[in-house]
């Protein structure tokens, strides 16, 4: 082929490319049931919030459409030895305000994400030392080997050191903060979108960032995000064309959306496990009629609660069949030996007997915390649980609130202020270790302060913790799976938590929009394309 032919072909290709995807021009409107409260990427470790942030911030690594770890701000990395990792940073990357991205920003972000008030402490090991080799090379020195070091780094976003210092935002904004910091209201990331305006709870406008280092896989110039808490209103907005994407479509409306001809529902099993937790760490419950002692310290009470709750009924009645009851605190997709576990049967009589044996024949009163805009039918599940517990004599006062208030109260920054709660968890690493460490690990480990970070119930078993530490460094998969099995068996024997089910992803998407649905339920619109109007 001659040079001229080559040129001609290239020109043709360019023309075709132009015809197919004209310069980003579309406005995509997206509604979620919950609001985006803080723009500070270290405030709230919650999938929806992380996904919002993913449009403007990036980590050293990212995850692709199949959840595989891929390079992002780090172009490549290598392990020089098990305790020594080296990251080669991408060159020529600019933050949205024009500041260049360098190793200093990585070091700064590593400090900030592990500072007081951050909700992402366990994403980066506390004892890892970050060393700047040159402007584009960072070494990480570990105290103990960690083969899955980068597995949570896709949600550890890199912030601009200079910008944070200029705006008095060096300290992370805690979720319980009442006055937002500068970083909570503004962003300065490296991601494919910038935030043009942000009114918490009202509207957030994202604009495509022309200076992004990557190649856009979308044709959008703008994303308008509005929280719509009411299920009916959200669905109506989708069907009237007022918004293009909604998450979630309430399960009672899936059929209607699918038959509308305007939008479809993208369904897939989600990897999130919904569970109920009980405060078993305090000597006296914060919100209960039992004084001077904590009934949940008695394993029989925990077993009684477990056995009183009928997950199959919740599946058929509340979830309309769109849930998978779970015996474990992790989805079967994440753990090969899940099928070895079966859920103990619901048994109200046995539960009553256990309560009587524990000295609570007449039951007791307790307050349950529940989000009402976070998980699929969360408040309805909680109400169903209240009814089931009433049958064994437990009078539950249900406090269902929007997730912003709920998380500020029950999570670590709020002081774990709950006695009984409903929570959902997707291990960000895609691995059981995360569940064993973050949810089932002891909270007061002096050597590892991030252990049990999301252990709102305060369950603690040193034997399980020892196993967890071994699991982290074990590289033989079969052996590792057996150890995980042992660890889960310990937690089941202790009735540590009450796993309910894995919910189903349920995104409502206009027929004009093509979208990639990732199994971790992050709505990532930088993979969206919208047809011409």
């Amino acid at each position: 082929m001659s040079v001229r032919q080559n040129l001609l072909a290239a020109a043709c290709a360019a023309m075709v490319a132009f015809a197919v995807s004209p310069a980003s021009s579309q406005v995509l409107r997206y509604a979620n049931q919950g609001e985006l409260k803080s723009l500070d990427p270290y405030t709230l470790k919650e999938t929806t919030t992380i996904a919002h942030h993913a449009h403007v911030y990036e980590g050293l690594v990212g995850r692709d459409k199949d959840l595989k770890i891929v390079p992002a701000l780090a172009e490549s990395w290598e392990t020089l030895d098990p305790l020594h990792w080296r990251f080669h940073l991408r060159k020529g990357v600019k933050f949205h305000n024009g500041d260049p991205f360098t190793a200093d920003d990585v070091l700064f972000s590593a400090d900030r994400v592990r500072a007081n008030g951050s909700n992402f402490l366990s994403n980066v090991p506390a004892d890892a030392k970050f060393v700047k080799v040159d402007d584009y090379t960072v070494d990480v020195m570990l105290a103990s080997p960690n083969p899955i070091l980068t597995s949570q780094w896709d949600s550890w976003y890199i912030m601009d050191k200079k910008w944070c210092q200029e705006h008095d935002a060096v300290a992370p904004t805690p979720a319980s903060a009442t006055t937002p910091s500068y970083a909570a209201l503004h962003e300065n990331g490296t991601g494919p979108f910038t935030i043009e305006s942000h009114q918490p709870g009202v509207k957030t406008v994202f604009k495509a960032f022309p200076g992004w280092w990557g190649k856009p896989e979308h044709n959008l110039k703008e994303i308008v995000f509005t929280p719509i808490a009411s299920d009916a209103t959200r669905v109506a907005a989708l069907l009237s064309g007022e918004v293009d994407v909604v998450e979630p479509v309430p399960i009672q409306d899936i059929q209607r959306v699918n038959s509308s001809g305007i939008a479809t529902v993208m369904n897939a099993p989600e990897l999130r496990t919904i569970f109920i937790g009980m405060d078993q760490s305090r000597d006296e419950l914060l919100y209960s009629s039992v004084k001077g002692k904590n009934p949940f310290k008695d394993v029989r009470v925990r077993e009684a609660f477990y056995k009183a709750i009928d997950v199959d009924l919740i599946k058929t009645r509340v979830m309309r069949g769109l849930s998978t009851p779970s015996a474990l605190m992790i989805a079967p997709q994440f753990y090969a030996l899940s099928k070895d576990f079966t859920r103990p049967k619901t048994d109200v009589d046995a539960a009553k007997k256990l309560l009587a044996e524990a000295g609570y024949a007449d039951g007791f009163e307790i307050t349950m915390d529940c989000p009402n805009d976070r998980y699929v039918n969360d408040a309805a599940i909680c109400q169903a649980v209240v009814g089931m517990l009433a049958r064994i004599g437990i009078k539950v006062d249900l406090l269902a609130q929007p997730k912003a208030q709920y998380f500020a109260k029950v999570l670590k920054p709020g002081g774990y202020k709950t006695s009984l709660f409903l929570l959902g968890w997707t291990p960000a690493t895609g691995d059981s270790h995360n569940v064993l460490h973050d949810i089932l690990g002891c909270r007061d480990d002096a050597k590892d302060p991030t252990r049990g970070e999301a252990n709102l119930g305060g369950y603690c078993n040193k034997e399980l913790d020892a196993l967890t530490d071994k699991i982290l460094v074990e590289s033989d998969t079969a052996k590792r799976d057996q150890m995980i099995k042992q660890a889960f068996e310990i937690s089941l024997k202790d009735w540590a938590y009450i796993p309910l089910h894995q919910q189903s992803l349920s995104w409502g998407v206009s027929k004009k929009v093509k979208l990639t649905q990732r199994a971790d339920n992050q709505v990532l619109l930088y993979w969206a394309s919208k047809q011409e109007e």
């Binding site: 509340v318 309805a380 009814g387």
Partner: protein, 323 residues
Amino acid sequence: MSDAVVPQKAESAAPAAASAVGWLERLLQSDLLYSFRRSRLTMLAAAVTLLFFLAAIFAPLIAVQNPFDPAQLQLMNSRIAPLWTADGQSPFLLGTDEQGRDMLSAILYGLRISLIVGLLGVAFSGALGILLGLVAGYVGGAVDSLIMRIADVQLTFPAILIALLVNGIAKSVFSNRLDAVSMLGVLVLAIGLSFWVQYARTVRGSVLVEKNKDYVAAAQLIGLPAPVIMLRHVLPNTMGPIMVIATINLALAIITEATLSFLGSGMPDTMPSLGTLIRIGNNYLFAGEWWIVAFPGIALAALILSINLLGDWLRDALNPKLR
């Protein structure tokens, strides 16, 4: 208006003299009853209102379950259609919601909450408004100016906004830890504080007219203390317009409670009022489960309409210009 209350005036000066028989006689001969009998619509409205009150009072006897008791709800019975449709099941006449709550029972018990909040709210705002109005009108001067300017300022806000504000403050004071019963108290407080202005202004107006009349001067001459004159002599002569406001405000208070609950800052889902039921049902409106929202909505509308009709009739009946 003073014409209409002249006969009452003589009576109120010596209330002890009126015997029960005298009362009944006067009632039967009164203009009020006459105009009531003349209006079919008013009679219908009164009947419907009475029916709602009776239903609320005897709810535990009529309802098939206590919807406030989670132990009585069976999740198995959730989302059953009304009895007359193909999927209906006995004993759920109006169907059930997503928690297996019988809609009829939920409406009856929700009606109780709505009426309790409405009546207590009206009583509270009435007491507050009458007291402030009496003092403002009778004392006058700086006190009058102060109270009335506060009232003016409050009138510039919509009542629902004040109610939301009171509600929000109460919730943050109790750091979000409110059980259903104290929530009821907060609602009464919120509604009371949003509706007192109308009473205060009306009472003050009447007091200004009354206080220059001879019977007040006479009472002052025999040395009665001001509070006694205000309560025993002036107040009874201002009751006519207050009754009208109270009736119309009852409907407004019920609507305000329903609105607060619909917005999610009123009664919790576990102890629903009519507004809460409508909010819950709203989520199922598009899913074809219309009965969850329709029946509480109809009940609320019928209640408000009949109370309003009664209020309108009372206003016209007590207005001498319309006779």
